[in-house]
Structures are given as C-alpha cells and as structure tokens.
C-alpha cells in the first residue's frame, strides 16, 4: 500500500495568540509549534494500515523550512519518508490542497490520511478539497475505519447526535477524528532513526490565494462577570438574574 499522511505544523494549544505586525496573521514570536493533534490519529492510521498490509508511509507537509521538524515527528512515530512541499509564502486552504494534489498526482496513492481539522485555521476542509482535486472519494471526520483486502471500506463519521456509516473504496482521502485509534508515542530509537530518514523537497506551482485575509483581530474580551454568591443560598438570585437581566430563561 502506498500510504500518504498529510500533517500540519501548528501552534501548541496553550499558545496565547497575538496579532502580528501586518494585522493579518499571528505574531510567531515565542510560539512553539507542534504536530497538529488530529494528525497524530492520521499518522497512526497510516502506520497500522502498513503493518497490516505492507507498503510505505509518506508524511506530507506544505510550508516553509520550519515544517521539516513536524515531518520528522511523523517519521519518529514510524513513517518511512517525508515529502516537503516547500512553500515559503502562506497559502490559503485551497492553495495548500492544490500543492498537495499536484505533488501526489503521479505518485499512485492508495490512501491519503488527514486530520479532521488543522487547529490553526480550523478549516475542516482539506480532505474534501484533496478528494475533489484528485478525483477520488473523500470521507471526513472518521472515528472508525475498516478497510477490506479489495480496497472497499467502511467508515463511521461523527454527525450531530450520533454516527453515520459510510461505504466507499480506495483510493480515497480520509480525515481522522479522535477515537479512530490511540496514537503511539515516538520512542527514543524512532526519534534517532527519523533524523536519517529521507525527506524529498518539491517546489509548488505558484498560486494566488483565493481567500484573502483582510484583517485579523482578537475577539472582544469578555469582562469577568459577577460572582452572584456562595453556596446554595445564591441560587435564588442567580435564577432572578438569568430571567430578568440575561433573559435566557
């Protein structure tokens, strides 16, 4: 199986986001970057598939040089090699997908795994964009996956209030939801080996962003509300406030 896993290089979840000087993106100063948490499920799914069926797992990332460290995190988990689409300028989601689709189109992928969401731009759209660009099926937010020998597969995706069972067949793009598996931790040996695994660089076709960021701002700061009181005695006053002031009941 020729397995690709797309990963994104994102600020750690505890980052205090500050708007940068151009007013259109965050200030990267002091930000620690991690492998996007959902992509750990995607990497694990790729590794498990390889362990079951054989083949090769390639980690794919679009971005500047700094993303190589994130590709190495996937390699440290056990993937075989990396594919770095070297895009120095920020791209929107369409442009990112286009860069990946161009890089993959002649590589005969059997399956492309993504995470459900990149926790920077929270787009939830990469698997659909990629599937359409590569003219292959896509299934998003898969919390369960069962791939048969003939490449037909069943996935369960989370929907409002429950799950939806989807059937489809490879080659396909599948985005991973928490619950799909338990991602393994990289072992020291894996981290050492990752340093020597090959990462191929490819140049993307120039692209003009379709989605233009006009400005980035911080959401209005919510003023800390009032402490109504302590213990059960405060309940009467709370209900009054919810009814008369907040008008939510």
């Amino acid at each position: 199986m020729n397995i690709f896993v797309c990963v994104s290089h994102v600020p750690d979840t505890t980052t205090k986001v500050q708007v940068g000087g151009d007013g259109k993106a965050i200030d990267p100063a002091g930000v620690t970057y991690i492998l996007n948490p959902y992509d750990e499920y995607a990497v694990e799914a790729g590794l498990q598939l390889k362990e079951a069926r054989g083949g090769e797992v390639t980690i794919v990332c679009v971005g500047p040089d700094a993303v190589k460290e994130t590709i190495r995190k996937g390699l440290a988990m056990g993937a075989d090699k990396g594919l770095h689409v070297v895009a120095a300028e920020p791209r929107d989601s369409f442009g990112t997908a286009k860069a990946i689709a161009d890089a993959l189109k002649d590589r005969a992928a059997d399956v492309v795994f993504c995470g459900r969401q990149s926790i920077d731009y929270d787009g939830w759209q990469m698997s659909g964009l990629l599937g359409e660009m590569l003219s292959i099926p896509s299934v998003s937010v898969a919390a369960k996956l069962d791939i048969a020998e003939d490449g037909s597969f069943t996935a369960e995706r989370d929907i409002e209030g429950g799950q939806e069972t989807i059937t489809s067949k490879l080659p396909a793009v599948i985005s991973a939801q928490k619950g799909l598996n338990e991602p393994r931790y990289p072992k020291l040996q894996g981290i050492m080996q990752a340093k020597r695994k090959p990462i191929e660089d490819v140049e993307p076709v120039p692209y003009e962003n379709r989605v233009e960021v006009l400005e980035m701002s911080k959401p209005p700061i919510k003023e800390a509300g009032k402490i109504v009181g302590e213990g059960p005695d405060a309940v009467k006053e709370l209900v009054r406030l919810l009814h008369e002031e907040a008008k939510v009941i």
């Binding site: 759209q125 659909g128 964009l129 960021v213 006009l214 009032k226 009181g229």
Partner: protein, 323 residues
C-alpha cells in the same frame, strides 16, 4: 444570480441551522439586489414552501430516494447543477457535519473557494466579507473570497432564523442527473440516539467536569439539563476518564458550541475548554474554587460545591419555570 442555500432535514423536519442560513442569505441577497433559492433534499412540499417563511423566494425540491442518505459525490453534483441552472455564484449552507463535508468538494467542483464556519457575514462595497474564528476562537479573521464562485458555511446557533412569516417559496421540482459513479461514497445508515440533543444543535447546554467526581453523579447534570431543555456536555478530563462519550466533549479537540446558555459545573476552565464555548451568549459557572479560570469568562458564577448548589438550582428553576 440568486444565492443558493443548501438546506438539511432530518425525519422530514428542516433543521434550525438551515433556516438560519436561509434567513442570513436573504439579508445578503437583499443588499445585493438578488434573491435566495433554497435546495432541499427530501422532506415534503410543505417544507419546501416553508422556506419562504425564512426569506427564500424559491425552493428547488429534490425528491430522489437515492439521496435520502448522504452521498457526498452525488450531493456535490446535484448542488453544482442547481447552481449552474440558477446562475448562482454564491452558495451558503450551515457548517453542520454534512455542510463541512460537502462545501470543500463543491467549491473545487465550481472552481471557487470556501470560507468555512463563519460567524458574521456582510456586504461591503459590493463584496461579501465574512468573519471566522481561527486558532480555536483566540483570533478572528475577516476574509473575502476573490474567486468568482464562493461557498460559505455558517456556524449553527450564531445567526438568527427569526420567526417564520411572509410568503411561501415557489417550489420547483428538481431532478439532478446522477449516475452510479456518483454513489461510490455513500451513507448506509445513521445511528442517532433518540431524544438526545447534540451539543452543537442545542439552545442550552449543561456541562460537567472533574468536579462531579464520578460518572455516577451525572444525574445532577442531567437533572439540571432536563429542566432547562438542555443538552449535556463534558470536559475532556471526564471524557478521557471514560465517564462520558467523546460526542459530548466541548473544546478545542471536541465540539465548538455557542448556545444561549452554557452552564459549567465543576469545570476549571482550561484554555482548550474555553476555546469551545466562550462564544456562548450567557455563561454560568459553579465551582468551589473562587480562582478557577472559568469565572473569568462566566457572566454569573456561584462559588460552591456542585453537590449542594446544583440540586438547589434545579429545584429553584423548576419552581421558576413552573410558575
């Protein structure tokens, strides 16, 4: 020319988030001197006409049994054909599980782009601009789509559907041309816990955290939720502990919610939890630690033990709602 809105129904009932999208699109269409055409898969003629109550001039009603369950390839083709027929450059839909799956494929098919999960949308000098939260709501970006074809998904519960009123929509039966190849990927069924509200669709939410001390105490959360007609949510700590299902998790790696009322019981208010719920309209917190960060986003707080406060609150609300 019209703005196309993809609507959803479940068991014949149109989802509230779809009405919100129709209403919002109608406002934008009004400012741009055009109208709204709703696309409805399934349901009946009355539901199709009913789109008018929320501002749609017309409904393309698709009655095709193959589309009763979601199939992204077929849905994309059907909507793209509808957009072509109506000459629509702009398509909107709610950012539901279906909308989030459909929108990106549709955008590529139409040679456009998506602005996903927007929380504000307006017309600015002839262009549509939209605001969307990024970095789990820690920042907002105002965006404009520069391609001719534009797809927007609207975060549920943020835009108002308003009251139904006004004329019925003109209903036109629409039969998209679909082949077997469009059903390679398809839903074969759903399992939806009956009577259980999903946190993303609920008007009110009561969530519990580690302060509840064990799954056996969840009747406190459920009791309060019942009086409020609320869905139950949870922090990641209790989901990881196996006390509650992941479907209930609110936060950066769970669900993003914006209900009218969010009640946090025994939840500390970690940054990743706040990411999922800080856009709630009114937040109430009960926590025994007066310095818990949840109090910094709560509109109203009670410092106290959930085991004492919650039963009293449930009782008081019963009396209040009863009277």
């Amino acid at each position: 020319m019209s703005i196309l809105v993809v609507t959803e129904q479940r068991d014949g009932k149109v989802k509230k988030a779809s009405y919100e999208a129709v209403r919002t699109a109608a406002k934008i269409a009004g400012e741009m001197g055009t109208t709204v055409t709703a696309v409805l898969f399934g349901a009946d003629e009355a539901a199709a006409k009913g789109m008018g109550g929320y501002g749609a001039a017309k409904t393309l009603h698709i009655a095709d049994d193959r589309l009763n369950l979601y199939a992204n390839g077929a849905y994309v083709k059907a909507v793209a054909q509808a957009a072509e027929k109506e000459g629509s450059d702009v398509v909107m839909m709610p950012a539901t599980a279906l909308g989030k799956d459909l929108a990106p494929r549709l955008a590529v098919r139409m040679d456009g782009a998506v602005a996903p999960d927007v929380t504000d949308i307006s017309v600015d000098g002839g262009d549509i601009t939209a605001v969307r939260p990024v970095y789990a709501g820690k920042a907002l970006i105002k965006v404009k789509i520069n391609s001719a074809k534009k797809v927007f998904t609207l975060r549920p519960n943020v835009f108002s559907a308003g009251e139904a009123g006004g004329d019925e929509a003109a209903v036109e039966a629409f039969a998209p041309e679909l082949g077997d190849e469009d059903f390679v990927t398809k839903s074969t069924g759903t399992s939806i816990a009956s009577g259980k509200l999903d946190v993303t669709e609920a008007v009110n939410i009561v969530s519990g955290g580690r302060g509840l001390q064990g799954p056996e105490h969840w009747q406190l959360v459920e009791g309060l939720a019942e009086v409020l007609g609320a869905a139950t949510g949870a922090s990641r700590a209790v989901v990881d502990a196996g006390w509650r299902p992941h479907a209930e998790q609110v936060g950066q790696t769970g669900k993003t919610v914006s209900p009218n009322l969010y009640v946090a019981l025994g939840i500390s208010g970690a940054i990743q939890h706040l990411a999922g719920m800080s856009s709630s309209k009114c937040i109430v917190a009960v926590n025994k630690d007066k310095d818990a960060p949840i109090f910094q986003v709560a509109d109203y707080g009670i410092v106290g033990d959930v085991f004492e406060v919650v039963p009293a609150l449930t009782e008081e609300l019963k009396n209040h709602i009863g009277s």
